[in-house]
Structure formats: C-alpha cells, structure tokens
C-alpha cells in the first residue's frame, strides 16, 4: 500500500457497460497494488463526443497519466494534446489506425481473436459444416473478428457461412435476431457470436424457442453474466474472452513503470536518452491474447466468485 500515490484518469465512454466491468475490477486491483488512484470520467453509454470531451478535460486535471479507449477516433486530438504536454496516454480495449501518438495499446487483437474463435470451432465442431455469425455489424471489433474468423476457416476447413444476423449490441434485439436465425437456418451446425450481446441473444433465443441446441456448436465472445450461466447450462459450448482485467491492470502498471524512476521504464537504454532521441520506450502493442471459458472452468469466471477490491 506504500505507493507513489500518483493519480491517473480513466477517461472513456461506455463507463457503465457490463463488458468493461472487469476492466474496472482490474483497475481497482491495480489501485490497491500500486497505491495509486484511478479517477473515472466519461459518459455511461455510447457517446463519442462526450468520450472525447472526457479525455480532453482529463488533461486539465494534470494527472500522472491517462487511460482511454478508441472504438472511434473522437478522442485522438485529445490524446495528441496530452502527449504534447508530457502526460503519458495508454489506450486499452480498442484502437484506431491513428492513435494520436499514445504510448501503447494494450488489449485484444480482434483479428487474432477471430482466428482463435475459428480454431475453437474446428476443435469442438469438426472441420466442416455451416454456421451463422451474429454481431454488431458495422462496429470495428465485430468486423475485425469476423475477418479473422472467416479467413482462417477458409484456409483450414470446409465451414460455410450460412448467414449473418445483426444484434445491434442490444440484448432484446439480439434475442429476436437469433430466433429468426434459428428459424431461417434450421439445419446449421454452429453459431458464432462475435459481440458481447450475441451470446446472451443466442442462448436466450434457444431457450425461448425451447430448441435444444446442445448438438450445435455455439462459440461466443465475452462474459456477460447470462453467457456464463448458459455455459453452465451447457447451451453455449465456449466463450472466447479478452483478459479485460489484465489490460486495465497493465495500463496502470505501465504508467507507473514509466513515471517511477526506481523502475525506470522511461530510461531503458534503447538510446542514450530516449526522450531526446524521441524514442518511445513502450512496446507498440501489447496483446492480451484470449482465454476460453467452457463448462470445465466457468465457475472460476462467475462474478460472484471474483474477488472485490
């Protein structure tokens, strides 16, 4: 607990989104471990403008560092401004091509996550069959995951895409879409859910249809509570999850390492003087890789069993 007492700001939109709850959990853990404070500002829901404002106004608080997200580029000017003023910025979870010169991106390689999904599908559902993909189409992460998934399946299997359904990242929409999907493609062999609401939608749709999809291979993403329940019930075979808590923890850790002269990440001898040489001592990206939740380990992931800080 004898930490630096530095203050960091987590400025981002979607502060209230369940998907990011373990991000927050990771931050709480980091606060405890490093004895730092992480202030959280930004809108509850999806609001790019307010998200961008949050980053820019975070700078005014003169924090030791800023952690943010880039689902869309609104915050890029803010990040650029912060870096210009020597406030280190770390992007987590999602990043745009131009990251405004942030020190690093810590999070998921969505393309790779898609590939992992494909591997999981092949391992659990065999090398061939037809499948449907549910996602929040148009959203970058869905698109990238889908790319990884399809390209890997193309190259390594005979899985055929029967169709796509749009869940608009809204549970009730996801349920209705998934029901239509089950009705439209009665004889598919697998369902893939790429968005955090997809899994809930697919599972609840099956429940509502009183359709036994145990023989279907259902691979989804993320760990909304309903999804975990569905894994416990054996409706969903597996969920591919990002190590969200870790990305948040590492964001704080990296910033501490950068600020704390005793650790001295800033001065790793890449050059005589990194600052002068304009060397960024951080790795460009830090990918979390994915974990697989299935019936065997699901209990370790349920919120109830997670520690609080």
């Amino acid at each position: 607990q004898d930490g630096s007492g530095r203050t960091y700001v987590y400025a981002s939109q979607l502060q209230g989104h369940p998907y990011l709850l373990d991000s927050l959990l990771g931050m709480d853990y980091a606060q405890k471990q490093f004895g730092v404070t992480v202030e959280r500002i930004g809108p509850q829901g999806w609001d790019p403008v307010a998200g961008a404002e949050a980053v820019e106004q975070a700078i005014a608080r003169k924090p030791a560092g800023i952690i943010t997200t880039l689902w869309e580029p609104g915050a890029v000017p803010g990040i650029r401004r912060a870096m210009e003023q020597g406030i280190p910025v770390v992007v987590i979870e999602a990043v745009t091509p131009d990251d405004g010169g942030a020190l690093t991106f810590i999070g998921l390689d969505n393309y790779a996550a898609g590939v992992d999904t494909a591997k999981e599908l092949i391992e659990r559902g065999g090398k061939s069959g037809s499948y449907v993909a549910s996602g929040n189409w148009g959203a970058s992460n869905t698109d990238a995951k889908f790319k990884g998934l399809t390209e890997y399946l193309e190259a390594n299997s005979d899985w055929k895409l029967a169709g796509r359904i749009d869940d608009k990242a809204t549970t009730s929409t996801a349920i209705d879409a998934a029901k239509t999907m089950f009705n439209t493609y009665p004889d598919i062999n697998a369902v893939i859910g790429l968005d955090s609401s997809s899994g809930t939608g697919i599972c609840l749709a099956a429940e509502e249809l009183e359709k036994d999809i145990a023989d279907l291979t259902v691979i989804v993403h993320d760990r909304e509570d309903p999804v975990l329940e569905c894994i416990q019930d054996g409706v969903i075979d597996a969920s591919i999850v990002n190590k969200t808590a870790l990305q948040a923890f590492m964001a704080v850790q990296m910033l501490e390492a950068y600020n704390d002269q005793k650790i001295g990440l800033a001065n790793v001898p890449i050059s005589a003087d990194n600052k002068a040489a304009g060397v960024n001592p951080f790795p460009a990206q830090i990918y979390m890789g994915t974990e697989v939740i299935d019936g065997d380990n699901v209990d370790q992931f349920t919120r109830a069993n997670l520690p609080k800080y």
Binding site: P18, I165, D166, T200, L204, E208, E229
Partner: protein, 328 residues
C-alpha cells in the same frame, strides 16, 4: 325533404374495417401486410413455419404492449416520447428490486406505480400549463433514461433471479401469454373504437380540443389518463422485456419511441390528432417485424435495415398526405 332524409341509408359505403368513421381505415395496411406475408411465405420455405411466425408474433406482442397507451395519446393530438425510457426504467427497476430480494408482485407493482407517476406528471404538466407534449416528453425521456441508467449501473450486469425469466415465457393454451394478450387487446380495441364513448371523446379532443371543451368533454382528465396509460403499458412491456433479457442492459428501449411513432403512423394515426387505431398500430409493428424478418431470410446486408424503415415511414405519410391533404 323529410321524405328524402328518411330513405337516406343510415351509413353510406362504410369501408370494411373502417369502423364508423372513428379509428381509421386499416384495410389498405392489412392488404399490404398480407401481401408481404404472402410474398415471404411463397419465396422462403422457412418463413411460414409455426416456429417463425410464433417468434415474430412474440417479438411484436411485447412492443405492442408498449404502443397501446401511446396510440391513444396520439389520437388526442399529443405525443409521448418518454415511452422508451419509461420502458427501460420500469423493467430495470423491477429487476433491481427482485435482485434486492423482493417478491415479483411487490416489485412489479412498485415499478408500475413509478411508471404511472411519470405518466401522470407528463399529462398533468401538458394539461395544466398547456405545454407542447413533444417538447415536454423529450425532457422526461432524458430524465427517466438517466434514472434507469443509475439503476443499471448499480446492478452492474448482474442477472435477475431465474424465476423472473419464466414470466415472459408463460404460456396460455401453449401460446406465449403476451401474444394472447395482444390478440385479446386488438379485439377489445376493435369494440372500443367502434362503440366506446371514451374513444369518441378522444377523437373529438384530437380533432378540435376547443370544441370538445365547450361540449363538456373532460379534456384534462382524459388526457392525463391517456398519458398514465401510455406510461403504464410501456412499463408492462418493459417488465416483460426485462424478464426476457435477464439482466440490466443500458441500451434497453433506446429509440423505442421512434419505432412507436413509425408503427402508429403506418397504422393510421396522425400527428394532427383525431385518428389512431390500435389495430393499425399492431399491424404497423407487424409490418416492420415482417420486413426485418424478411431481410434476414434473404440474407440482406443487415445495415440496410434502417434505410428501409426510414423510407417506409416517409412513403406511408407522403402517400397519406397527398391522398387526403391532412398537411398543415
């Protein structure tokens, strides 16, 4: 003259579904919906299955619950844009109370009372200070959405008790109860709009509120009741949806108000009041559901959906306006 009067038929050429000049003529809409249905049924073998139709109806039946009060508010030349928020708030509140260990009925009861209170405030302010309801309910929409997000945040993604989920799945003669309710309500609405004094009063209010006043119709009371009804029906729908999605979702009911407007307008309601028909609103929702279902069945790029809905809305109203100049 007397002679001529007596042999004029009581009602000349009354359209089949039109009721007696009240409600609106939903025949055209019914035919369009039927046509789309037939088209899908003929071209997609998986469309006309019991499973699929049941799913479509179930989805529609829940939104339908929310549009009941909304439609009759529109009949009176008012509008309630807070339905989406009230829908989310009531559902989330019920869930939160259940998570807090309450029994279902107390929880749902309290949530519905809260909804009724919101509706009452909307109606009361509109009537007493004659505030434009479009502007006012944008305010309450924001306010209530905020409250509902506060709740959702507290819950932090927790799932509601399993028992609660069975609510939406309750069956009556092995049909989802909401579907049964919808059918019953549509039949009731039919009678209500044909015969009920209350509905006629609503139409008169919508047609010319000053005339209604000098004819001794209790404009204020009826309007307030309608707003309360609008909030409560939205609330009921919200509770069913909450039971369906099993956990607090911040995006619940987002933009629902505009889906409602679209459906109601397609269903024959008018922003200029005096018209509006629950049967039509139901058909409107069904039409939208069929279109979406069809687009999935045809595996059409999902992102086209919004475009189609928008075009549908404008086309309908343009058609209606140009036909019987109900413009300014």
């Amino acid at each position: 003259m007397t002679q001529r009067l007596d042999d004029t038929p009581a009602r000349k050429h009354k359209p089949l579904l039109a009721g007696n000049g009240f409600g609106s003529n939903i025949l055209a809409l019914a035919l369009v919906t039927l046509a789309i249905f037939a088209f899908l049924a003929l071209t997609r073998q998986n469309f006309a299955t019991w499973q699929n139709l049941n799913s479509i109806l179930f989805g529609v039946s829940i939104d339908f619950l929310a549009i009941v009060g909304f439609t009759y508010v529109m009949v009176m030349r008012e509008i309630d844009l807070s339905v989406g928020s009230v829908f989310a708030f009531t559902g989330t509140l019920t869930g939160a109370l259940l998570v807090g260990g309450w029994g279902f009925w107390p929880a749902a009861g309290v949530a519905l009372l809260a909804a009724a209170a919101i509706g009452f405030v909307n109606g009361f302010l509109v009537v007493r200070f004659n505030i434009n309801s479009l502007m006012l309910t944008i305010g309450s929409m924001l306010l209530v959405r905020g409250l509902s997000n506060v709740l959702a945040n507290d819950l932090g993604g927790q799932t509601y008790p399993r028992a609660f989920r069975s609510l939406a799945r309750t069956n009556l003669f092995d049909i989802r109860i909401t579907i049964v309710v919808m059918i019953v309500l549509v039949l009731l609405a039919w009678g209500f709009q044909r015969r009920a004094a209350l509905y006629r009063k609503m139409c008169f209010i919508g047609e010319n509120v000053k005339s209604a006043t000098v004819h001794g119709i209790q404009v204020g009371t009826i309007k307030i009741l309608a707003f309360v009804a609008s909030a409560m029906t939205a609330g009921v729908a919200g509770i069913f949806t909450a039971s369906r999605i099993t956990h607090a979702d911040v995006r619940m009911g987002l933009g629902l108000e505009f889906v409602m407007v679209t459906a109601a307008i397609i269903g024959g309601a008018s922003l200029y009041g005096g018209r509006g028909d629950l049967r039509g609103s139901a058909l409107g929702l069904l039409l939208l559901a069929l279109v979406l279902n069809g687009m999935i069945m045809y595996d059409i790029e999902p992102v086209f959906q919004q475009f189609v809905i928008g075009a549908l809305l404008i086309a309908t109203v343009a058609f209606d306006t140009v036909l019987n100049r109900r413009g300014q």
